[in-house]
Amino acid sequence: MSEQRPAAAAAAGRLPVLKTHKVYVGGKFPRSESGRFDRALAPDGTPIANICRCSRKDVRDAVTAARAAQAGWAGRTAYNRGQILYRIAEMLEGRSGQFEALLTAGGATSDEAAAEVQAAVDRLLHYAGWTDKFQQVFSSVNPVATSHFNFSILEAMGVIGVLAPASPLLGLVSSIAPAIAGGNTTVALVTGSQPLPAVTFGEVLNSSDVPGGVVNILTGRRDEMLAPLAAHRDVDALLLCSPDPDVARSAEIEAVHNLKRVAVRPHEDWTDVQSPYEITDLQEVKTTWHPIGS
């Protein structure tokens, strides 16, 4: 598996091939344009891998990729988006062992790691099933008092900037899945102490028929990446998963430039953060009037 410690592996008689952890942008796995890196650490502080320390430019590139993918993704049928989310669940299930190892390397017990991976798979399945149902539950035909056919539907907000939760796998899945289920594309900033599951989740997405650019995952430091993402005029909404009110407040102020919609998720435990309102919070309501007549 990928995260064996070099010394231990060498003692077993074979030098392992170590993995370079890169980011996921536009369906590709580039390094940060900045060439900088940070270290992912084990709970005891031992470095276990180098990760990309992304820059403002990386954020802008990711937004460009997300924008380019958005109309096409929203234009997919709800059925197709559901199948693709289901495919992500299938691929994650198949790589459970790898993710359990990553979570265990981050300090989880093997039971906790297994439970988190299973919950993440089930969460993807849950939202896969919502793609062709939330519109039915939350749209309306409005009985206006004039001779018009009037209806309100939900439309994807567009490009969502996600400050990913610290919860390394379940939190990331729980924040991204409802966003993309509704036709949005995302730029997720992974800034917690355990970036490796998120980076590896990009590989799952890339092998699940998710079009490039629908989910973009950047690693690095929040204080370098969040402000440029929150201020970016081609980002339509922010999903701020942080229990720190100062983080939300500073991002909200940056978001005023183009009146981004902002949803704040202060949860630290993501076990129960699952509902269709996670989808509708990232949707616009569009009302259309058509005359009824000859």
Partner: protein, 501 residues
Amino acid sequence: MTDSTESTGHTAPKLRLGNDDGWAYAPAPESTDHVELRERYGLFIDGEFTDAADGRTFETANPATEEKIAEVALASDADVDRAVAAARRAYDEVWSQLAPRERGKYVYRIARVLQERSRELAITESLDGGKPIRESRDVDIPLAAAHFFYYAGWADKLDYAFPGRGARPLGVAGQVIPWNFPLLMAAWKIAPAIAAGNTVVLKPAETTPLTALKLAEIIRDAGLPPGVVNIVTGAGETGASVVQHQDVDKVAFTGSTEVGKLIRRALAGSGKHYTLELGGKAANLVFEDAAVDQAVEGIVNGIFFNQGHVCCAGSRLLVQESVADEVISKLKDRMETLIVGDPLDKNTDIGAINSRAQLDRIEEYLEIGEAEGAEPFQTSCPVPDRGYWCRPTLFLQASQSHRVVQEEIFGPVLAVQTFRTVDEGIAMANNTPYGLSGGVWSDKGAKAFRVTSRIRAGVLWANTYNKFDPTAPFGGYKESGIGREGGLAGLHAYLQPEQAA
């Protein structure tokens, strides 16, 4: 006018109706004799009318005559404090304790009295704000009553608002409304708020406080518990005091994008709920397969309704090149028949500009448009000597970069551009930071559906324009605002779902 030298290619002589050809209408003013207006109005706080704590007042005037109508109390921070405290007390002790059905009955009462006093309210609206009596009588007042009636019925049905979840009110709502639809905006704000179980402090616009104060009388006479609805009059400072008040749980603002951003910034990190209904620069797209005469009526209604003082006005006309000459020629002819003048005259199409300040702003844009190279067209109708007036105006040959295309003018001024393909028309429509509304004119249903689904805006009108209904959610994408008013979505703006068990 009888001259038909426009380059339309029409050869048959045309009959045109205008203002200078002997077809002038005799005046038909609405009588005002049964409208009771007081010389002084106080603040409505905790069920009573009171003076401002510091005794200050301001004048509200008739924009059609520039004459003062009444003096109105100017609320300071101390008065807003008092109003918010009354709203909090009413929320805690009375309104949140009341059976939902009974709460609904109070709201129904308001709807009924609005209908009973509709004529008086319509005249007051036109006197204070300058809008044509036909519009205040047929649109503003009936819709205001309809909003109260619609939301009254929600009061005991909130368990159905969020599938799978319960619902509870937010608390005290601070609400600030504009001068373009004074009573209707008060209804949009107050009706869903109190039906959902909140209490409110509402600040009407400085230039149009009177119908809100008449609504206060109605609310008092309907027997609502004191403090459920409080109305504080004043200008921008009073509004700022309302939206920034610490003890307000929800802010609802309708007004400019500029002020909306200031409010949004002030609310950052507060965790408070908010809805913002802001500016717009809507495109009205006319395709070559449109019914041209209907489209021309829709263009006129889109931009000249309420003097163009409409956030969702169709202020950009995008017309497909192949029909542009015909559409523009017919539009000019139709515009020449529009009557600008006395808002109380039932023949009037375009009333008074709401204030001197707004007229100055519009006239500044008329100069900007001409300086930037757009080709102005203004009708020749007479306008009264006193009061604030603006003839219906076009800017032809406008470019995407022109300020009259990019910025909200909030007056009877229409920027006209042409496009060739459907995709180009959609791209031009979306090329704006705003996203409140849009119009599509085409007799091809499939095309109308496709275009409405691709315009990034909250309200789309296909082969119609400027229609409103309490059941139909209204609100903007992008910099036109956040949140919806009207319908179930508008109810959500005053509720929060209970957390899942």
